[in-house]
C-alpha cells in the first residue's frame, strides 16, 4: 500500500488506465527477448493490481476519485469517476489478468504460437480499455472505450490466422461493431437528447423524463446495443470468438469483454435509469424475459456441444443473462446479486477455460467425448474443473452459491416466480452439461488396465498453467467462505445501499 | 400583347438554350456534344446581353450628348464568360482527339462498350 501513498488519489485512475498501455509499449520494445517480455507483462499486471487495490481502499474510505481527460464535445468530456461497482469489476479483471498472464506464458509456449508479442500487446491494450470502462464517468466515455475494447480484441480473436479464425473474427467484429454503432450509439445519443447529460449519477438521470415510451425504446437499445452482454439473438459472436487462443477465451471471453458488457448494462440500469425508475419502464419486463429465455436456451444449446470450448461459450452466454436478469429485476438485492455474479462467475468460468486450455496443450483434446478417463492423466486439472463447474452450478461450498442465492431472493422479492423457476431449471441444466465431464474423467470405465494409479501417469500442462488454474479454483472456494469484502463493496453502490448485509 | 413585347426575346433565348442543352445531353458524338455546349453557352450569353439592353440606349461608350446607355455590366460579365467558354471548348476538343487516338472512335456508346463502365 505504501507504494502509491505519494500519488494523489485521482491520479490513480489515470495510472490504472495508462499503466497497461506503458506495459504494452515496453513489451513491444522487449519483443525479441521472450523472458524479458513476459516479465514485463507480469510486472505490469502486478503493478496494476496494486493500483486497483489502493483505489479499492480509497473507495472504502470514501475518498472521491475522478479525473477528466479532454472535452470531446462542448459539455461532454472523457471523464473517469470511481464508484464501487466499477471497482469491483476492476478488482476482478486486474487480479485475473495476473493469473491469466501466468497461464498464457505456459500455454503460448506450450502451444508454440506465432506473434506472441502482438498477442501480449493487444492483451494489455484490452485490459487498459477494460480499466477505462470500469472507471468511466459518463456514457460517452463508456462508449468510446467499449469500442476500443472491441477493436483491440479483434486481433486476438483472429490470432491463429486460419480460415476459421478469420470467419470467427468477422462474426465477432461484425456483431459487436454493428450493434454498438447502430443501437448503443443511438441509445447514448438519445439519452443525451432527452436528458442533456450523460453522467452516471446515483438514482439515474432520467427521473424527470415524462416520455415513458421513449425510455422504453432506449432501454431496448441499450440492452441490444451492448452486444457484449450477448443477449439472444445477438450472442453469436461469443461462440465465434472461441477460435482465439484459450487465454484469450479465458480472460476476455469469460471475464473482461463479456463482463464489460453486463457491467455496462448494470451501470446503465443503476446510474442512468435508476433501479426505482427501471421498474416503471414497460420494456424492462420484456427484456427481462428475453434474458431469462437466453438463460434457458443457451444452456440447452450448451448440452449439445461436444467441443468443450463451445460448450463453455454457451454456458457463458447463459450466465451473462443471469446478470442481465438481475439488473432488470430492478430490486436492490437482485442488482447486488448481479454484481456479485460478475465476480463469482469470473473465477468459476476462468477456471474452466484454463482447464480446457490445459487439456488442449497437454493432450491435444478439444472434445468432451474424448475426455473420459482423463482424470488419471491430469488429476489436478480435472479437480480444478470440478470445482469450477460446481461453482458455476451454484452449489456450496463454491462462490457461485452466493450470487445465485441473491438473484433468487431478488426474483422472489420482485414477485417474478417465472424467473425463480427459470433460475432453478437453469441450475439443473448446468449440472447436466458440466458435471458429467469431471465425473467421466475420474470414474469412466477405462480399457482394462488393472494398474493402480500412480504419479508416473500424470501428464499435466506446463507448470505456470497448472499454478494458474489451481489459484483460480482456490478462489472459487475462498469466495464462498470470505465473500464479505466484496459484499461490503457492493453495499456501497447507490441504490443497493446495504441490501445484503446479512451475508457471511 | 405587352407580355409578348416584354418577353419575346427571353423566350426565344430559352428555346435556343434548350436546343443547345438537348444536343449536349443527347448527342452520341463527342464533337457534337461540344458544339451543343457552345450553343448552350452562347444562348446564355444572349440572356445576359438581353437584360442589359435599354430601349433607345446606345453602346456604353461615352459620347458627348448621349445620356441613355445600355448597361455595361452584363457586357463585362459575358466577355469573361466567352473566354471561359472557348477555354472549355479547347480542352474538351483536345480530350476528344485523345479519345480518338486511344479508342479509335468518338461515339460515346462505342467506347463505353470497350471498357466496363462504372
Amino acid at each position: 500500500m505504501n507504494l502509491w501513498q505519494f500519488v494523489e488519489p485521482s491520479m490513480l485512475v489515470n495510472l490504472a488506465i495508462v499503466v497497461p498501455v506503458i506495459g504494452a509499449l515496453l513489451l513491444i520494445a522487449a519483443g525479441n527477448y521472450p523472458n524479458l517480455r513476459e516479465s514485463v507483462t507480469l510486472a505490469t499486471a502486478a503493478l496494476l493490481f496494486t493500483i486497483v487495490l489502493v483505489i479499492t481502499d480509497n473507495t472504502f474510505n470514501a475518498v472521491a476519485m475522478e479525473t477528466t481527460w479532454v472535452a470531446l464535445f462542448p459539455g461532454l468530456s472523457l471523464t473517469f469517476v470511481v464508484e464501487p461497482l466499477g471497482v469491483l469489476f476492476a478488482l476482478v479483471a486486474s487480479f485475473l489478468w495476473i493469473i491469466t498472464t501466468l497461464y498464457a506464458i505456459g500455454y503460448m509456449r506450450g502451444h508454440k504460437e506465432d506473434n506472441q508479442t502482438r498477442f501480449f500487446f493487444c492483451f494489455a491494450i484490452a485490459i487498459s480499455s477494460v480499466m477505462a470502462i470500469c472507471f468511466s464517468g459518463n456514457l460517452l466515455t463508456l462508449f468510446v472505450f467499449y469500442e476500443l475494447l472491441t477493436l483491440s480484441t479483434y486481433p486476438l480473436v483472429t490470432h491463429a490466422g486460419t480460415e476459421a479464425a478469420k470467419k470467427g473474427g468477422r462474426t465477432y467484429l461484425g456483431i459487436l461493431l454493428s450493434t454498438s454503432i447502430a443501437f448503443l450509439l443511438l441509445a447514448v445519443m438519445g439519452t443525451w437528447a432527452v436528458t442533456g447529460t450523460l453522467d452516471f449519477q446515483p438514482g439515474g438521470i432520467v427521473a424527470d423524463t415524462e416520455n415513458k415510451s421513449l425510455l422504453a425504446v432506449l432501454l431496448v437499445l441499450f440492452c441490444y446495443g451492448i452486444g457484449k452482454a450477448a443477449i439472444m439473438p445477438f450472442h453469436r459472436w461469443l461462440p465465434a470468438a472461441m477460435v482465439a487462443p484459450t487465454p484469450v477465451s479465458a480472460l476476455l471471453h469469460a471475464v473482461a469483454v463479456v463482463k464489460a458488457g453486463v457491467f455496462s448494462i448494470l451501470k446503465v440500469a443503476i446510474y442512468i435509469f435508476g433501479i426505482d425508475r427501471l421498474k416503471e419502464i414497460p420494456t424492462a419486463d420484456v427484456m427481462l424475459y428475453i434474458g431469462a429465455a437466453t438463460v434457458l436456451i443457451s444452456s440447452s444449446i450448451a448440452m449439445t456441444k461436444d467441443n468443450l470450448k463451445a460448450r463453455l461459450a454457451y454456458s457463458t452466454v447463459s450466465q451473462l443473462s443471469y446478470i442481465v436478469v438481475g439488473a432488470l429485476l430492478a430490486t436492490p438485492i437482485a442488482a447486488a446479486g448481479a454484481a456479485l455474479h460478475i465476480a463469482t462467475h469470473a473465477v468459476g468460468k476462468i477456471t474452466l477455460f484454463f482447464c480446457a486450455g490445459a487439456i488442449m496443450v497437454a493432450k491435444h483434446k478439444k472434445n468432451v467425448s474424448e475426455m473420459a478417463g482423463l482424470g488419471r492423466v491430469m488429476p489436478i486439472t480435472m479437480t480444478a474443473f470440478a470445482i469450477g463447474a460446481i461453482s458455476i452450478i451454484g452449489l456450496p461450498p463454491m462462490a457461485g452459491t452466493w450470487s445465485k442465492w441473491f438473484l433468487t431472493i431478488g426474483a422472489l422479492e420482485a414477485d417474478k416466480l417465472i424467473i425463480v423457476v427459470t433460475l432453478m431449471i437453469s441450475s439443473l441444466l448446468n449440472i447436466a452439461y458440466l458435471l458429467p465431464i469431471p465425473i467421466k474423467a475420474f470414474f469412466a470405465k477405462q480399457a482394462p488396465s488393472a494398474e493402480p494409479w500412480s504419479w508416473a501417469e500424470v501428464q499435466e500442462a506446463p507448470l505456470p498453467s497448472v499454478i494458474a488454474l489451481t489459484v483460480t479454483s482456490a478462489g472459487c472456494l475462498a469466495l464462498f467462505f470470505f465473500p464479505q469484502p466484496l459484499v461490503d463493496l457492493i453495499n456501497l453502490i447507490p441504490g443497493i445501499n446495504g441490501a445484503i448485509n446479512g451475508v457471511g | 400583347m405587352s407580355v409578348i413585347v416584354d418577353y419575346y426575346n427571353y423566350w426565344i433565348v430559352v428555346f435556343l438554350m434548350m436546343a443547345g442543352f438537348y444536343v449536349v445531353i443527347s448527342a452520341n458524338n463527342l464533337v457534337k456534344k461540344v458544339v451543343g455546349l457552345n450553343i448552350f453557352q452562347t444562348s446564355v450569353f444572349m440572356l445576359y446581353i438581353s437584360m442589359g439592353k435599354v430601349s433607345g440606349g446606345t453602346a456604353p461608350i461615352i459620347i458627348e450628348g448621349v445620356t441613355q446607355y445600355s448597361n455595361p455590366l452584363p457586357h463585362v460579365l459575358i466577355l469573361t464568360a466567352i473566354v471561359v467558354g472557348v477555354a472549355t471548348t479547347a480542352v474538351g476538343l483536345s480530350l476528344v482527339i485523345r479519345i480518338k487516338h486511344a479508342y479509335g472512335t468518338v461515339e460515346e456508346n462505342e467506347f463505353q462498350n470497350e471498357d466496363d463502365a462504372i
Binding site: 454503432i181 | 471498357d115 463502365a117
Partner: protein
C-alpha cells in the same frame, strides 16, 4: 504589412506560383516551390481563421473599389474554416505527389501537373473567399479546367473518357449556375453576395428568383455530386492519378458543398429556401438515398479507388443531410464533416496510391498480404477507414455525433437510425479491403520481396493526415469553435436581415 492582404494572398499565392512553375519546367525545384506555396497558403488560411474567430468577418475590396461596385473578398468563419481544410490537405498531397506522380505520370508532364494543381488550388481558394457571385463562377471554371487536366494526366486511357464526362457535366453545372446568377442579377441588379442577400430579402419572392434558386441548386449539385447527379464522379476519381484523386476527393466536392451552403444561407436565406420552397425535404430524401445507394455501390466494387469514390458520394450525402436538417447543429454537422471527410479521404487515397506505387494495381486483390508488406501504409488505411466508419476517437465520430444529435434534436429518430445504419455499410466496404490486407497472403506470382513499404515522402503526408484524423477526433475545440461560429452566424445573418425588413 501582409496582414491586411491576407484574403488576397490566399488566392494569389497559388495563382502567381502557377505560371512561375510552368516557366521553370519540370525539375525538383518546381515541387519545392509548389509545396512551399501550399504551406504558405495554409498558414495564411490559419491566420485568417484565427482573425475571423477573434474579430469577425474580413472584407477586402479589390482594386480599392468598394462593394457592390468592385469585387469584394469576404472571409468569415465559414470559408476560412473550409479554406484551412482545403489548403492544408492540398499541401500534404503536394508533398505526397513527388513520388506518386513519378510512378503514374509521364516525366515530361510533371510541369503540367504542378501548374494545373496550383491553378486548381487557386480556383478553389477563389471560390471560397470571393464575395461576388459572378467572380465565383470565374474561379469555379479555373478550378474545373485545371481538374479536367489533372484527371486526364493518368496513363490509363479510361481517364480520358472520365475527364470528358467530367468536363461535360461540370460545364453544364457551371452554365446552370451562370443562368441562376443571371436571373438573380436581373431581379436585383447586383452581384455582391451580401448585397444580393439584402435585396432578395427585401423583394417579394418572385418566380424569377425561384427559378434562379433552382438553377443554382441544380448546378451546384452537379458539382458536389449529389445523387443522382453524381455519375461523373466515380470514373473521374477512379482513373485519375492517385495524387489527383486524393486532392479532388478531399477538396473539390467540399468546396461545392460550401457553395451550396453559401447560396442557401447567405444569399437566399434558409427561411426562403427551406420553408417557402420546401427544399429541405428534397435534400433530405436525396441525401438518404445517396448514403444507402452509394454505400451499397461501394460495397460491391472491386477497384479500391472506385470504392472510395462511391464512398465519397455517400459522404457528401451526410453533409447535405446535415444541411437539410435546418438547425444550427445540423449545419455544424455538415460543416464539420466537410473538414473531417477531407482528412479521411485524403489519407485513404494516399494509402491506395502507395499500394499502387508498389503493386501497380488498385484492385482489392492487389491489397492481399499488404498488411505484412506495407505495414505503415495499411495501418494508415485502417485508421482512416475507421474514421470513415465513425469509430470513437477519430474525426469521423465527431461528424457522426453532431449529425445524429441534430437529427435527434428535431426528433427525427428515423433519420438518426438511418445515419447509423449507413455507417454500417462503411464497415463492409472498408472491412473488405482491410481483411484482404491482413488476412490474405500475397497472391502467387507476385514477388513479395519487391513489395516493400512505400517511400518516406509518401508515408509522411499520409501519416500527417492520419494523425490529424486522430487529433481532430479527440480535440475538437478548433473545429467546433469554427463551425459553431460559422453556423450561428449563418442563421443569425438571416434573422438580422429579417429584422431590418
Amino acid at each position: 504589412m501582409l496582414e491586411q492582404h491576407l484574403p488576397a494572398l490566399a488566392i494569389l499565392l497559388p495563382l502567381i506560383a502557377a505560371p512561375i512553375v510552368f516557366i521553370l519546367g519540370r525539375s525538383t525545384v518546381v515541387w519545392l516551390l509548389a509545396t512551399f506555396t501550399g504551406a504558405w497558403a495554409s498558414i495564411v488560411a490559419f491566420q485568417l481563421l484565427l482573425t475571423t474567430l477573434a474579430e469577425g468577418a474580413i472584407h477586402y475590396s479589390l482594386g480599392g473599389w468598394s462593394a457592390p461596385w468592385g469585387i469584394e473578398l469576404t472571409v468569415d468563419a465559414l470559408n476560412a474554416f473550409v479554406l484551412l481544410a482545403v489548403t492544408g490537405v492540398s499541401t500534404m498531397v503536394l508533398v505526397y505527389s513527388k513520388e506518386s506522380i513519378a510512378k503514374e505520370i509521364d516525366k515530361a508532364k510533371h510541369g503540367f501537373y504542378y501548374t494545373a494543381y496550383l491553378l486548381a488550388m487557386a480556383g478553389l481558394s477563389g471560390i471560397l473567399i470571393t464575395g461576388d457571385a459572378f467572380n465565383l463562377f470565374v474561379f469555379l471554371e479555373i478550378s474545373s479546367l485545371a481538374t479536367y487536366t489533372l484527371v486526364s494526366l493518368a496513363s490509363d486511357r479510361r481517364c480520358l473518357t472520365a475527364a470528358f464526362r467530367y468536363l461535360i457535366m461540370g460545364t453544364i453545372g457551371a452554365t446552370f449556375i451562370l443562368i441562376g446568377v443571371g436571373l438573380l442579377y436581373m431581379k436585383t441588379g447586383t452581384l455582391n453576395m451580401l448585397d444580393l442577400a439584402e435585396r432578395i430579402a427585401a423583394f417579394d419572392r418572385s418566380r424569377t428568383i425561384n427559378t434562379g434558386l433552382a438553377f443554382i441548386v441544380v448546378g451546384v449539385s452537379i458539382k458536389l455530386a449529389l445523387f443522382p447527379l453524381h455519375r461523373w464522379l466515380p470514373p473521374a476519381y477512379t482513373y485519375a492519378p492517385s495524387a489527383v484523386s486524393s486532392f479532388l476527393a478531399s477538396t473539390a466536392t467540399k468546396v461545392a458543398v460550401y457553395v451550396l451552403i453559401r447560396f442557401i444561407f447567405t444569399i437566399f436565406g434558409p427561411d426562403y429556401v427551406f420553408y417557402d420552397m420546401g427544399m429541405d425535404m428534397v435534400f433530405m430524401f436525396l441525401a438518404i438515398v445517396a448514403i444507402f445507394k452509394c454505400s451499397y455501390m461501394a460495397a460491391v466494387q472491386n477497384n479500391v479507388k472506385t470504392i472510395l469514390a462511391f464512398s465519397s458520394v455517400a459522404q457528401v450525402g451526410y453533409m447535405v443531410l446535415g444541411i437539410s436538417l435546418v438547425t444550427t447543429t445540423g449545419l455544424m454537422a455538415g460543416l464539420i464533416h466537410i473538414f473531417n471527410h477531407a482528412l479521411m479521404k485524403s489519407a485513404l487515397f494516399m494509402a491506395v496510391g502507395a499500394v499502387f506505387y508498389r503493386v501497380g494495381s488498385v484492385e482489392v486483390h492487389a491489397f492481399k498480404g499488404m498488411g505484412k508488406q506495407m505495414p505503415f501504409t495499411m495501418a494508415a488505411f485502417t485508421i482512416a477507414g475507421l474514421s470513415i466508419i465513425g469509430v470513437p476517437l477519430t474525426a469521423g465520430f465527431v461528424s457522426k455525433w453532431y449529425l445524429v444529435s441534430a437529427a435527434l434534436q428535431q426528433n427525427l429518430w428515423v433519420i438518426a437510425v438511418l445515419i447509423l445504419l449507413g455507417s454500417l455499410l462503411a464497415i463492409v466496404y472498408i472491412g473488405r479491403i482491410v481483411e484482404a490486407a491482413y488476412f490474405h497472403d500475397v497472391p502467387e506470382g507476385r514477388d513479395a520481396s519487391k513489395l516493400k513499404e512505400a517511400p518516406l515522402l509518401m508515408l509522411i503526408p499520409m501519416w500527417v493526415m492520419v494523425l490529424a484524423n486522430l487529433y481532430f477526433g479527440i480535440d475538437t475545440s478548433l473545429t467546433t469553435e469554427a463551425v459553431g461560429h460559422a453556423s450561428e452566424w449563418l442563421f443569425q445573418s438571416t434573422e438580422l436581415l429579417e429584422v431590418a425588413q
